[in-house]
Structure formats: C-alpha cells, structure tokens
C-alpha cells in the first residue's frame, strides 16, 4: 500500500538545521490499522505529515501503490469553517472533490456518533469533542483509501473516547480502510491497532520497534479485560519508559 524509503526530515533552526527524522524505512500494510507512539516531540506528527504529502522529506521517498488514492486527514487541531454548519463542514470535501457519497452512510455515522441532532449547528456551538467527531466524519465521508489520524481523540473525555475507539475501530475494520494513527495513548493504540510503531525519543528519531498486535477475540470492551490485552499494555509501557529513561540518562 505504502512504503517509506529512507525518509529524513530536517527543519531550519536559526542558522542551523534540526534533523527530526532520520532513515525511516517503513512498510504500511494494506487494510490494516497502524499506530505510531512515542515521546512528545519525537517526530510522530512529522512522519504522518510526510505520509500525507504535507511535508516534503529532506531525503528519501514515499511510494504509494496508487497515486490517486483518497486520503482522509484528521489533524490534531480541529479545522472547521466557522460560518458553515456541521453538515456543510462534513460535506466540504464532497463539495470540493465532487466525489460521490452515500447519504445512508452519512446518516449512519451521524447517528452512531451522536451528531444527528446537531447538523444545523455551527462549530462554536459544539464542544471540543463534538468538533473532533465532525472532523472524523468528514474524513470518513469520502470513503478514504488511507485514513490518517493525528491524535484525534485528545480533546475527548475518557468515556466518549472509549466509545468512539470501539465504534471507529469496528467501522475501519468493516470498511477495510488502511489507517495510520498518531497517539499518546498506549491503551488506545493496543485496542485499535494491528501494528504499533514505537519511535525513538531522541532527535533525529528513528523507528525503535514494530509490534504486530494480534488478539484471538473481537475488539470490543471485553477485550480490555483480557490477560493478553494487559500484557500488551505492560510490554509497550515498559518499552516506552525504557527508551525515555535511557535517553534521560544520556
């Protein structure tokens, strides 16, 4: 689906340059959910922006199977037209690209995420979490081949976050959308992902580990009570803490 070859990214820092990513080789599997985790500022968002072609790498290349793929992008900061309603904001990509969409699919998403009564509202009449949900539905409405989520649930309360995790994970799996998500939540990453990429905390950052997450059962709330789930959480937490501590000692 997507291959990153020896990606490096540097940003100007005064007269010098700061290298954020160095030599990233990565193969993103089709129809799978991949999460990127790591310490704050380690270049996770930069990596996602390189994949979205919003950030040109200093070195290396991004090979996409089909260059005309539809990308659903959910940025960290909610970006909504303030003078357009929820519905107008959701349909903005449709209006711009003239892609077709299914009305029933939209209605289903609105009901599922509890926004069906808010379609005529304006963004400033919504809570932070609702705005982020609008952003997610807007990304899903174009029926994307590649869904890129940059900490999409950061502004949600834990209850809504858990509810949306379950619904989104099930939606993405049933629609078989290749998804890459940047997150700080290990629990969220384990629950939703088929693959988790752990980034090194020091700059320039590289990929430290890649974990294949496999569960025998369906991904629902019960999964969170299983031994297997807890083991994954502990393993990843330790790996993340190890890498940060080693870095702090250095």
């Amino acid at each position: 689906m997507l291959r990153l070859n020896n990606i490096s990214v540097s940003f100007p820092n005064g007269k010098q340059e700061t290298k954020v990513l160095d030599g990233i080789d990565l193969n993103i599997k089709e129809e799978k959910f991949t999460s990127i985790i790591g310490k704050s500022g380690c270049g996770k968002t930069t990596l996602l922006r390189v994949i979205a072609k919003l950030q040109k790498p200093t070195n290396g290349s991004v090979d996409i199977k089909n260059n005309r793929i539809k990308i659903g992008w959910v940025p960290q900061q909610v970006v909504l037209l303030p003078n357009s309603t929820v519905l107008e904001n959701i349909l903005l990509p449709i209006d711009i690209t003239k892609h077709k969409y299914k009305k029933e699919f939209l209605d289903h998403l609105l009901v599922k995420y509890g926004l069906d009564k808010y379609v005529g509202f304006y963004p400033n009449q919504l809570s932070g979490g609702q705005k982020q949900i609008v952003s997610i539905i807007r990304a899903l409405i174009i029926n994307p081949d590649l869904l890129l989520l940059d900490e999409p649930f950061a502004s949600l309360d834990s209850y809504t976050r858990e509810k949306i995790d379950i619904e989104l994970a099930s939606k993405i799996r049933s629609e078989k959308i290749t998804t890459i998500m940047v997150t700080h939540s290990i629990e969220e990453a384990v629950f939703m992902s088929d693959e988790i990429i752990l980034m090194k905390p020091i700059l320039p950052s590289k990929i430290k580990n890649i974990f294949d997450i496999k569960f025998s059962g369906i991904r629902n709330l019960d999964l969170k009570n299983t031994q297997q789930y807890s083991e994954w959480i502990n393993l990843l937490r330790n790996k993340l803490l190890d890498s940060i501590e080693i870095n702090d000692e250095v």
């Binding site: 990308i71 037209l81 003078n83 711009i96």
Partner: protein, 254 residues
C-alpha cells in the same frame, strides 16, 4: 426592551433637533437686537433643511443617484483590486511582504490633497477620475479584510484541501471565499461610506453633476439649506447601506 430602546433613541434625537431649532431661533433674535449676522446664514435650522428637501427632492435624488452610481463603480473597482491583491498574496506569500507596506503607504497618503491632480490627470468632467478617487479611498479596508481571511485560511485549510486532492482554485472558491465573507462584509461598512466620500470629493472638483457638485455650488450661492440637505441625504444613504450589511452580517455571527 427593544421598544424602550427605540423610544430612548427617538427622544434623544428629537431633543437634539429641538435644541438645534431653538438655539438658531434664539440666535436670530439676538442677532436682530445686536444688528449682527445670524448663524442661520451658515447653519440652517432643521425646519429649513426639511423644507429644502421637500421643495428640491427631484434635484437632490437625481444628483444623489449620480453620486451613488459613481461610488458603486468606485467600490467595485476597489473590491476587484483588493481581490486581485488578495489572490496574489495567497498564491505568492512573498509578494505580500514586499507589496503590503507599499499599499499601506498609499492608504496613509493624504488622498484629499492629491485629488485635484488625479482629476486633472483623467480630465475635467471625466467619470473615471471620480471613480478612481472613490476606489482609492475605499479599497484598503477590503484588502485588509481579505488579507486577514487568507492568512487565517492559509495553512490548516490549505493542507486539508491538499489531502483531498483539491486544486488551488477549488480551495479558494470553497474555503477562502466563505471564510472571507464575514470579514469582507465587515470591511464594507467602512468601505461604502469611504467610496461615497471619495465620489463626492471627486465631484467637488471634476463635474457638473452629483452631490459633491451640488454642495460646492450651494456653498458659493450661500445656500446652507441645500448643503446640509445634500449631506444629510448622503448620510442617510450610507447609514441605510451599513444597516443592511449589518443585518446580512448577523448570519455570520455564531
């Protein structure tokens, strides 16, 4: 509550008009006693203004309509220029850095003093000269508004549009323009009165028609009633347009 507000405004306005009328009547009596020139030679009473408007409404409306058409062309030209510059700033942000200070300088330039030269350049009696003065005075608020909207829209919305594979013109039409609309509407509240001032200013010097011309002629004829009537009509028109725009703008206040 709304009715009460209207009543308060009406009371204040009536008091002001009554005080104006009474002050001038008193001044006239005192002037007659002291054998001095009455202030009414320069300042008409509200009654005189009403009479003048009533007796000359055809002339006033015909001259006003000429000024409005000129101001309309002026503001349209100003808007097209602001839009063109806005698009150029959006496509080439580096151009903004070099050009914006120049445009700011032009706006700070005392155009009133420069108007006779503009009128002479375009030719005495030329519509173009008046339209140009009107556009020169009115373009800047619209440019600032578009520039604000474009800088607000630039990064995040542009990136979002790029991920959808949208063309730059589609992003401009579907994102930048809707984002700019409230800013532009707000700027029109400054730009429309400015364009009328510009057109009136041009008419003082350049033509034989329009409210500006009527004001100058009435001044030479020592007819303050006509001067005030003309200016009052201009004011009423500007306020009505600003009122309509404010109503339109309410749609964007969320």
């Amino acid at each position: 509550m709304r009715f009460k507000n209207i009543l308060i405004k009406l009371a204040l306005f009536s008091t002001f008009i009554l005080a104006w009328q009474l002050a001038l009547i008193l001044n006239q009596h005192l002037s007659e006693v002291n054998n001095q020139t009455s202030l009414q030679a320069f300042i008409p009473t509200p009654l005189t203004i009403t009479e003048t408007i009533f007796n000359n409404y055809k002339l006033l409306l015909s001259e006003l309509s000429i000024t409005i058409v000129r101001a309309f062309f002026g503001i349209s030209l100003g808007f097209l220029f602001a839009l063109l510059m806005g698009v150029l700033f959006w496509v080439r942000p580096s151009l903004r850095k070099t050009t914006f200070p120049i445009l700011l300088a032009i706006n700070s330039f005392p155009i009133v003093g420069f108007t006779p030269l503009i009128i002479i350049t375009f030719g005495q009696g030329s519509w173009l000269g008046i339209v140009f003065v009107s556009s020169l005075i009115s373009y800047f608020p619209m440019l600032v508004a578009l520039d604000q909207a474009i800088s607000y829209a630039s990064k995040d919305f542009f990136e979002l549009g790029r991920t959808w594979g949208a063309s730059e013109s589609a992003i401009f039409r579907k994102i930048v323009i809707p984002l700019s609309t409230p800013y532009v509407l707000n700027s029109l509240k400054l730009a429309i009165p400015a364009s009328i001032v510009g057109a009136t200013l041009g008419e003082w010097l350049g033509t034989n028609h329009g409210i500006g011309h009527l004001v100058i002629v009435s001044m030479y004829q020592l007819n303050p009633g006509m001067v005030y009537s003309s200016l009052l009509l201009i004011l009423a028109f500007s306020l009505s347009v600003v009122g309509i725009i404010s109503k339109k703008e309410e749609r964007y206040r969320h």
